[in-house]
């Protein structure tokens, strides 16, 4: 039968593990930029110098946290970034629910209080105090509200007036 020692030494797995043992394995938390651009500042204050500007989706390595500021590393640069602009998950794609809520958009766009209370009554559910609610929803106006959309290029133009008023 096989002997253990020489058998084990011949197994590539043992050597693989030994090789792995020598490679550095660092576990660190990553943050991702969610705004279109984010600035890394020299200090956790708004009036600090801007060290570098990073784009949406960039991965930053978290070093320290101070209230609403994170000390992070990007490439070779270390700086402070506002917590508003980053999150620990990569940015998601835009979530669209248009067309997925067939219940509301098709057919009746005004649901009646009676429908609600009947459904509730038949299942033994009690309706909460309706004093703040006249029982009517207006989906037409909601759809109009959603239709107002500002294109990206316009926002950049819009920002000009703000940028101009900002001092040094």
């Amino acid at each position: 039968m096989k002997r253990w020692g020489p058998y084990m030494m011949k197994q590539p797995m043992v050597w693989l593990l030994a090789a792995l043992a020598l490679s550095p394995l660092v576990a660190a938390e990553s943050l991702y930029v969610h705004s279109a651009k984010a600035s890394l500042l020299a200090a956790p204050k708004f009036n600090a110098d801007i060290l570098v500007s990073v784009e949406k989706g960039a991965e930053l390595v978290l070093i320290e946290q101070q209230k609403r500021w994170f000390l992070v590393q990007f490439d070779d640069q270390t700086g402070w970034v506002s917590s508003l602009l980053v999150k620990s998950e990569p940015p998601l794609d835009k979530v669209s629910v248009i067309g997925s809520d067939a219940v509301e958009i098709t057919g009746q766009t005004r649901s009646r209080a009676s429908e609600v209370s009947t459904a509730g009554a038949t299942r033994g559910l009690t309706e909460s105090d309706a004093s703040t609610d006249d029982g009517v929803s207006d989906y037409n106006e909601l759809v109009e509200m959603e239709a107002i959309s500002v294109p990206g290029e316009e926002i950049i133009e819009f920002a000009d007036a703000i940028v101009r008023e900002n001092g040094e």
Binding site: S35, F46, L84, V86, S100, E154, E165
Partner: protein, 274 residues
């Protein structure tokens, strides 16, 4: 052979000791558990569907102001601010609603309403930006969703069920949840801490975006002092103004902002405000 084996074990042991001081088994977590984006996607969809429901309900009681240019302008300011608010997976929508009460409402999913009375009390674009930034902050922090949890109306994990349920029981539960949401917005208000948080975040958003944060303080002070303005609802649903103002002032001082110049953009605002 044996000596070599010993050496290998020694290396491994040494590295084990020299390795990370506090090591947990996080490395075992696989992508399906770690990456919450799939769950997050579902949650975001549920939040937006819920927000629509509450928004429709709110619009059942109020009407949007008919000045389409003003509405578009408010959406421009809002869209600009949203870039700095870190929730780019949802579309924010803004509307000015006709009301004599000064107030603004942030609904889940990015539906934000400001009353015409509030706009009437504003003097420049930075003040409008301040109010919008405060509401955007509420949406970012999902305060309403959390508040409904506190109140015991089932949301959270059930939100997905509520909004996707083809089941009548779920639809009724959703109606109850949206009624509760409106009650929070117009009657009870969110938790005090949430309001202070929103103020603080609004401050940061304003500075990031280049607006003058002092403008927001000015607006709050104005509506607090002016006896003629209708501020019952805002007082009912928010913490007292003096505390809010002193906190915001503290933030300005801590960040040394008094010496820096930021935008108020008065002219553009006045062309739309009428």
């Amino acid at each position: 052979m044996r000596a070599l084996g010993n050496r290998v074990l020694l290396v491994l042991a040494a590295l084990g000791l020299a390795g990370c001081v506090s090591m947990d088994q996080d490395f075992r977590a696989r992508l399906s558990e770690l990456d919450k984006s799939a769950d997050a996607q579902g949650d975001v969809e549920a939040e937006v569907l819920f927000g629509r429901k509450v928004a429709a309900r709110l619009l059942g009681g109020y009407d949007g102001v008919s000045d389409q240019e003003l509405q578009y302008y408010v959406n421009q300011v809002g869209a600009y601010l949203v870039q700095f608010a870190g929730r780019d997976e949802i579309d924010f929508h803004f509307l000015i609603i006709q009301s004599a009460e000064i107030n603004a409402y942030a609904l889940p999913g990015g539906y934000i309403f400001v009353t015409s009375a509030a706009v009437a009390a504003m003097r420049n674009e930075a003040e409008l930006a301040g109010v919008l930034a405060h509401e955007i902050a509420h949406v970012r922090e999902k305060h309403i969703v959390k508040a409904l949890d506190i109140r015991g109306v089932s949301t959270g994990a059930a939100l997905g069920q509520l909004t996707s349920g083809g089941n009548d029981a779920f639809r009724v539960a959703l109606t109850q949840a949206s009624q509760a949401a409106l009650a929070i917005l117009t009657d009870d208000g969110l938790q005090q801490e949430d309001e202070f948080d929103a103020d603080e975040l609004a401050f940061y958003i304003l500075v990031q975006s280049g607006y003058d944060s002092q403008a927001y303080l000015n607006f709050l002070a104005r509506i607090d002092q002016d006896q003629q303005l209708s501020t019952q609802e805002v007082s009912r649903t928010h913490p007292d103004m003096s505390t809010r103002l002193s906190r915001l002032q503290g933030l300005r001082e801590a960040n040394g902002l008094d010496n820096l110049q930021y935008a108020v953009v008065e002219d553009r605002f006045l062309t739309f405000k009428r």
